[in-house]
Subunit: 114 residues, 3 copies
């Protein structure tokens, strides 16, 4: 009834239930990079994670984006807008918050259909 | 399987899947207004959006409220409490966070049944 | 179709729909305690709430943790890691945010299967 992917002690990277998948918060691959690169690699990780479970960015229902400073809002959105599949954008909220590590500039929580 | 409403490049205003609707983050109609008025018009936008897809505030499952300063917590709650239908309140969390635009005092993420 | 538990004017402590339960934000029982104790009693409240509706921590799908300061991240995680059932960890995101009351150090939003 509940299916989990890449489960460690602290969290699973994805949890599936009722045709819905909940991803753990995704951050940049390289946290020393700037906001554009961090957003790009964060979204690549979302792509890979969704692909691995048989979903895709075309099936994202809801995304919550946490950004360290709203000064980076436009640069983040530029990468986001080009990543979102035309006509299949999810619901989204974006607020300012600091992440677990000081150098992380952006994090995303995703709920998708599967 | 997935139905979207008012889809633009960045986000959809509502995404429906599995009898559940995810709304994009709703903010005040007029961001120069005070917290009471911002909360009021934000919730009116939730009402309209839910109505347009055949849901209603009586069917909200979960609400996440982001408030710019907890100094506004009581004033926001006063409007919230009078808006929530008696006996049909959703699960709720409220934390302090800054929104995309400096002048926005409150934002809400809603998941509802449909 | 929608079942609510402990509904007050402001919120319900749990809302069930479509085999999924949404809990309201849970905080420590005693907000004067340190981060370890606050995390412990917060998670105890999650346990009780899930038990009361016929779910359990083994069925958590997604958890969003808000922590007042990332200085407390390790201490919070120590309690979290020992609480999470081995092999059944949920998806998780954790960001820094201030809660409704100044003294609260941590809050959690939970979505679980039922």
């Amino acid at each position: 009834m509940i299916e989990r992917k890449e489960t460690k002690q602290r969290m699973s990277r994805a949890v599936i239930h009722n045709n819905t998948v909940y991803l753990c918060g995704q951050v940049a691959k390289d946290s020393t990079a700037d906001i554009s690169e961090q957003t790009k690699t964060m979204l690549e990780k979302v792509d890979i994670l969704l692909f691995d479970i048989g979903s895709s960015k075309e099936q994202i229902l809801s995304a919550t984006i946490y950004i360290k400073t709203m000064n980076d809002f436009q640069a983040m959105n530029k990468v986001w807008d080009s990543w979102v599949p035309k006509g299949q954008a999810p619901a989204r909220a974006c607020v300012q918050a600091q992440m677990a590590r000081e150098e992380l500039l952006v994090e995303i929580s995703v709920i998708a259909a599967i």
